[in-house]
Assembly symmetry: C2
Homo-oligomer: 255 residues x 2
Amino acid sequence: MISVVILGAGNVATHLFKVFNKTENITVRQWFNRNLKPIDQYKNSVSITDKLEALKDADVYILAVSDDAIAGISSQLPFENRLIVHTSGCVNIHDMDKKNRRGVLYPLQTFSKAATIDFSNVPICIETLDKKDYHLLKHLAVSIGSPTKRINTNQRKVLHLAAVFVNNFTNQLYRIGHEITESEGAEFDLLKPLIIETAKKVQTMSPYMAQTGPAKRNDQKTIKNHLSLLENNHHKDIYNLLTQAIQRTHGRKKL
Amino acid sequence: MISVVILGAGNVATHLFKVFNKTENITVRQWFNRNLKPIDQYKNSVSITDKLEALKDADVYILAVSDDAIAGISSQLPFENRLIVHTSGCVNIHDMDKKNRRGVLYPLQTFSKAATIDFSNVPICIETLDKKDYHLLKHLAVSIGSPTKRINTNQRKVLHLAAVFVNNFTNQLYRIGHEITESEGAEFDLLKPLIIETAKKVQTMSPYMAQTGPAKRNDQKTIKNHLSLLENNHHKDIYNLLTQAIQRTHGRKKL
Ligand SMILES: NC(=O)c1ccc[n+]([C@@H]2O[C@H](COP(=O)([O-])OP(=O)(O)OC[C@H]3O[C@@H](n4cnc5c(N)ncnc54)[C@H](OP(=O)(O)O)[C@@H]3O)[C@@H](O)[C@H]2O)c1
Ligand SMILES: NC(=O)c1ccc[n+]([C@@H]2O[C@H](COP(=O)([O-])OP(=O)(O)OC[C@H]3O[C@@H](n4cnc5c(N)ncnc54)[C@H](OP(=O)(O)O)[C@@H]3O)[C@@H](O)[C@H]2O)c1
């Protein structure tokens, strides 16, 4: 049995609470938030508190709070030598107070409170200073059905950066697709199956092998047509830059 | 019963042949390609030919050939007043010889010969000069289980352009994610569930509503960290441009 205290009541904390709470070999001993309002509804299934001094004993304390709050809370903890972990992709492990044993449980997925999460689709990247702590965290992650990977600080940072490219930037390309189509009264809905297929393709094929289209073929006539269709200069810049990137990757002549 | 002649033997032609061939109310009367080699293996299930003069009578002729070949083949056809359609997202309907009735069946999906295709995930965009022809093409597309949409030339062109953003450019962002992670010995595999989730999110939520991340939050510290992690200047340019695009979309201060 692994006992856990959760700190924070945002997207990540809430999903962790829910999955831990239904996992046989995990007990959520306590749930802390600086204000009780968001966790009050769970008080019948877990002990809740808004006082760090009232924190109970547990195998691991999960600081699922805003990046900027991690260091501060870690130094306010009224105990020593216990295992504390944060869940951030970019906060340094050494930013947490060294009076406790430290680790990171970085869930490489996008969380929002409203959406349900299947933890088998949430790779959990684990970083610890002490190897013994790694085994406990791995056991915790495996218990909720997540794939796990031991990583170092640099690897966590590049994964967080790569996540911005494949999630936030990709979503912005969807947004541009939305703008372009709706400007002519065409439907963004028509693009949805293609969006899914594009994401599925790289599950089994490298993005290098999966590339197609006018940039890769160096089809200058289509590229010119597309640029003349684009009315927004910012969209033109993105078209040019990504076309060049594809051509560089695939050894075509530089634009 | 709708009778069809397919011209071309590439990705699109091959998938169309397979789905038509197993659809009850569609007969593939003949399959033409300028060389018989790729279609020879199908000669027991369909009449094949490499001679335009030998083309049989059919309700519709589908020119699923390279964009540049569409106009030429359309004028070499040895008949008049029949319905011919191409499958391209960007070739003008008027580029086909006007001796025949003309239309477009643009399948808004990515095809490769190796991958299997479920036509219920292939929206078929239909353009015709004559309304009567539209009904036949719609009937054809519905018979193979595809969603259909009647569109005009401009709408087809912007859909093709938007497809480049959500497919080719998105795939290049996946590629950059691959490069960044592997450069530190982290695994691209860890990003795959996030890639799927990002694509799934916009199936039910607009890309505008789905946006998250440091650019949207205007989290300058993280943005600076990311830029200093990026060693490749081309990747930096893309990071900057897409960060600005997100901030413009979401009304943040311009960088
Ligand atoms: N969301 C994601 O997709 C995702 C994915 C992977 C990792 N992460 C990481 O997980 C952590 C939490 O993210 P989240 O999305 O769950 O955040 P969130 O929804 O914004 O919630 C943040 C939580 O932190 C608390 N908090 C903020 N400042 C605090 C302070 N000074 N003292 C005490 N508590 C404070 C907030 O308390 P109140 O309830 O009182 O406001 C809130 O409960 C972050 O490190 C983030 O980088 C997030
Ligand atoms: N692939 C996609 O994802 C996709 C998606 C939507 C629309 N489309 C459109 O569908 C059409 C076909 O694309 P595809 O990907 O199937 O192409 P493809 O795989 O490259 O095949 C092209 C076919 O056209 C034939 N061809 C080329 N030049 C010709 C010529 N001068 N005369 C006669 N035949 C010629 C080729 O004959 P050989 O076999 O002799 O080389 C080949 O069978 C294009 O208009 C494309 O824009 C493609």
